[in-house]
């Protein structure tokens, strides 16, 4: 460093002596300060262009579009912080035989008793007294969905309770003396009514609290008020039931190993044995029905008596044409297999469960198989023989749809719609959470604006559903929210260029950045070196001046 600086600093006498040597090297004349300054400007302007123009353009053209997602809110939904599902159920009490004040007192006492019994805050029963109207009107209002259940009180000999089989009505009779006096703080009749209500809604309550606890991600922690046995049964039922869909395709298939029977009276059998239930279910689901006959179908298991393990491989999925229907809706398969095979039941285990009889079994989220044995060479299956299979199919259909098992049919169905809306709400929330976590975990994934729109839609519908839980609109909103959330999560353009190898980037950038970058960097370094040297020289000169 010292040597070079000495040779560079121009000392005139030395150069004069060197000049005399023929072979010796000359020093270049001193550079003009304006040239030095100009060179600095050149280098700096190049760097300015690179930094102010090149880098922004590069950044702009290579960055991926990521619409901003409300990640925190989405995570709130998935963690259950955004919505606390509450099901306020209105129960109308109709006591035409009682005086207004007596009736009000009874309702108040029953409500107290109910509140004392209730240990799960999400599911809340609220009693209200019906204004004295005709019975038909009340049935009307229950159909509108404002009231989940009507209690019809009527005087009788003893305290009894009975669910009306075709309407959401609980008939309670009471001996006249049990009516509480306006001053009393407790009443046997009120407690009885409260207990009846609680047992009626026990299954729904258990199911919803199970769903909520499963969604919060702590399956070990048992929800309050649900015994382990009940929880197990609920878990079994939830895994068995199909994902919610507004429409289901029902496919009835007749399979047989040989060439007969090749025809069946399925249309009339369905009309007779299954149609009534489908009609009742129509407010919640639509159904399309198709039937087929498949001959020469060999089952996956050939043994005469099927054991429990063999049931799972009985359906010969590779050969049997049970392809799902086209169109979005899921298919539920009902298979009648004509053959002389039977199911060997371990009598103790399976008997009371009612799922596996000796002829049929239910395949979770798929459908039902019924083994039908026919005499000899029958070529046609009449309606009478199809009665038992179709009744089995009907009960299995309800269980595949996730309908609760206790209570009267209208009550079960209204419970189903509430369970479904809670389920859809939780599903949509968890999809939102997954999307939020995905967008955090993969910083290089593109998020198109349609996803952001979908998320916004989902959240607005979730909010609406959460606010109207327990009413029929909730099901609609939850359904829309779930569909929107799924659409946003499975957006096609998000997965397109997920993998872009780094080697590829090197191959693209290196040929340009190498030859251009090296002169730029070396130029800058030289310039810095020269600038430091000049500063030192100036300092030395200043020192020398002072000394002299």
């Amino acid at each position: 460093m010292e040597a070079t600086s000495a040779s560079d600093s121009v000392t005139v006498p030395e150069t004069v002596t060197n000049h005399k040597e023929v072979v010796g090297r000359k020093e270049p004349p001193p550079e003009k300060p304006s040239d030095v300054r100009r060179r600095s400007f050149v280098v700096l302007s190049f760097w300015a262009i690179v930094l102010c123009l090149g880098l922004p353009i590069w950044w702009k053209t290579t960055s991926i579009y990521r619409a901003s997602l409300p990640v925190d809110e989405m995570l709130d939904w998935s963690d259950g912080r955004a919505c606390r599902p509450v099901f306020p159920l209105k129960i109308t009490v109709e006591a035409s035989e009682l005086q207004q004040q007596e009736a009000q007192n009874l309702v108040r006492l029953t409500q107290h008793a109910l509140d004392d019994l209730n240990d799960f805050s999400g599911h809340h029963l609220r009693l209200q007294l019906a204004s004295p109207r005709s019975t038909t009107e009340i049935v009307q209002t229950t159909k509108d969905g404002t009231s989940a259940l009507t209690i019809r009180l009527s005087p009788g000999d003893s305290t009894t309770a009975a669910l009306h089989p075709y309407a959401p009505v609980l008939d309670i009779t009471y001996p006249p003396h049990t009516i509480p006096s306006p001053t009393s703080s407790s009443s046997a009749l009120a407690t009885f009514v409260a207990n009846q209500l609680r047992s009626t809604f026990a299954e729904e309550q258990a199911t919803i609290s199970y769903l909520l606890s499963a969604a919060s991600g702590q399956p070990e922690q048992k929800p309050p008020g649900v015994t382990p046995e009940v929880a197990d049964a609920l878990a079994k039922r939830t895994t068995r039931s199909l994902k919610y869909s507004p429409t289901y395709h029902l496919t009835f298939s007749l399979f047989t190993e040989g060439e007969h029977p090749s025809s069946w009276d399925i249309q009339s059998a369905v009309d007779e044995f299954m149609k009534p239930v489908l009609d009742v279910l129509s407010p919640i689901h639509n159904f399309t029905i198709d039937t087929q006959v498949q001959l020469y179908a060999t089952p996956g298991v050939q043994s005469q008596v099927l054991s429990k393990v063999e049931l799972s491989s009985f359906i010969n999925a590779a050969e049997w044409p049970l392809s799902p229907s086209i169109g979005g809706a899921p298919t539920i398969n009902f298979v009648v297999y004509v053959g002389n095979q039977t199911i060997g039941l371990p009598a103790v285990e399976e008997g009371p469960d009612g799922i596996a009889t000796s002829q049929s079994w239910l395949i979770p989220q798929w459908g039902t198989v019924y083994l039908l044995s026919l005499p000899g060479d029958a070529t046609h299956v009449p309606t009478t023989l199809l009665k038992q299979p179709l009744l089995t199919f009907t009960s299995h259909l309800l269980s595949l749809l996730g309908t609760p098992q206790s209570g009267s049919l209208p009550l079960r169905l209204s419970t189903l719609s509430r369970i479904r809306s809670a389920d859809l709400l939780l599903r949509a929330s968890s999809t939102l959470g997954s999307l939020a976590r995905l967008s955090i975990a993969l910083p290089s994934i593109a998020i198109p604006s349609s996803v952001a729109e979908g998320v916004a839609n989902t959240m607005s519908h979730l909010r609406l559903a959460c606010d109207t839980l327990g009413s029929p609109e909730a099901l609609y909103h939850a359904r829309v929210a779930e569909a929107e959330a799924e659409k946003a999560f499975f957006e096609k353009s998000m997965v397109g260029q997920l993998y872009f190898p780094d080697e590829h980037k090197i191959a693209v950038y290196l040929p340009l950045l190498g030859p251009v970058g090296v002169p730029l960097v070396v130029g800058l370094l030289n310039e810095l070196k020269a600038w430091r040297k000049r500063r030192r020289e100036r300092a030395e000169k200043g020192k020398q001046k002072k000394e002299t």
């Binding site: 000359k26 270049p28 550079e31 060439e259 198709d290 001959l295 229907s325 340009l512 030859p515």
Partner: protein
Amino acid sequence: MHRFLSFLLLFLFSLYASGVASAADYHEQLVLQPLPLSALLASFNFRSNTSLSAFEAHNYRFFPRSLGQILQHAGTRELHLRFSLGHWDAESWGARPWNGTREGGTGVELWAWLEAEEEDEANHRWSTLTNALSGLFCASLNFIDGTRTTRPVMSFRPEGTLPNTNSSSNTQLLYGVLPREVVCTENLTPFLKLLPSKGKAGIASLLDGHKLFDASWQSMAIDVRPICPPGGECVLEIEQTIDMVLDIERSKRPRGNPIPRPVPSHELKCDMTKPYQSDDTCYPADYTASQDWTLSQVFGRLMKGACPLSDPSVPPVCLRVPHSRDVYVSVGVREMKNADGLSRCFEVPSDAEVDIVLPQIGQAGVTGHTANGAILTPDTPPLYAERSFTGYGQERGGVQTILTNPSPDKEVEFVYMESLPWFMRIYLHTLQARLDGQNGADNSLIQEVYYRPAVDRARGTQLELRMRIPPASTVFLTYDFEKSILRYTEYPPDANRGFDVAAAVITILRVGQEAVSTSSLRTTTLLLSLPTPDFSMPYNVIIFTSTAIALAFGGLFNILVRRFVAADEGPEVSIKTLKTRIAARLSDLVKKFKQAKIDRKE
């Protein structure tokens, strides 16, 4: 040949007649016909139908549900699907089975009448249909997009009676073709699954992917059409057809030892009439050479009885050889000779394994003389067609189709349809038809032209010509085209193989009755080679432009930044100075090293 055609037609009509009788029924028949050059044509035909009311109520019995659902979902009135492989050698095999109406060009062909008011709706339904069929048949039918779809105007006519057919304006015909698709066993399996017998009984038990796709030519066809007999209930009919031409020598090879080996010289079948015939010279006797076979040999398995579902009035197997030949059959099979003297049918029990043996026609069969009695001479087809590329280079090309009318007295009228890919830009003004032996174009040959030009990357060219060829003459139909250059990403894998151009469809019209198709044929597909780029090109371009930029930039930057001095003023740069500098550095290092050693010792 007309006898054979009329035989098939008669058979078809008899099936129609019986189809009217019951709403849901099933028929199947296999027709075997030995062809010259030791070939055997096997025509499998399966037909089942369902009443339209049952179809609309989604009750399927013999009609396959998987296909029925697709038809309903896509609003399809009539559907025709073809999977074909190989080339029909019309020169030696004569006219085609079913008059060519049950075959397609190489690859996959699909045409359907869809219920749609507008073009957009039709396109949407078409894409639904192709996607669903693609899943059902494990074929790439979903690649039939706008560029591969045409709307033929003259070539196809509905085979069934469309309901409310008076207002046929609300059905639209779409035609799509995939010439590159390789038809294989995975297409046969779903095809067999559509049959009520699932390929486990009846003649379908003979179908085996190994033999079918080893054939010289094969075509699988599915036709769905609504038929409304006058006064009867409308039915929806599905007809599945498989035609195959087996090379008997090839099929008889044992499965475990399929490698062909040269025949020992004493087993060669030579034409003894040739004057040069000797021990070391042999002219192969072509006609009867190995026209002896058994069913189990050519299909690799025995037939598992007649299908119990099928109509008992239709014999399941028919064989077309002269009555003079003996045929041996298994026990229980009853032979019925037809009155025409050219064919016989077999009634087969449903629970027996059946074999049919066509023995060698005596020792005399070795010579060429008795060949004429051994098999039937195939009929002459109404038209021969062959198509090829002309032109050279990477830019210009041409297509030439040679159409020959063999009939000595009848002229033939037909519609010639090409659906070409968009990157083949044809020059319509160069289209000309020329009679053999004449110079210059003959304008009277082409009677009508329907032309829909291509739109780049959106749709292909559609060209339909109605032509009339005088008796016993040959017509050369030629046109030129330009090959366009595709974008980098538009080339398929293995682009240097070339691009398949779909077969031309020739629909022969019955003279007198306008626009009623009687038979059709297809040319072979063509392989068009387009100029293909070097696919490492993007990297080359990047490196090349980068180098150019670096050179320009480096020069500019250096001129601006460097200081120029005289040669003797700058720092000395030569090998000598470099050497001395390196030597000095090295000696410095050595010294330091030694010093360090000494220090350590001390």
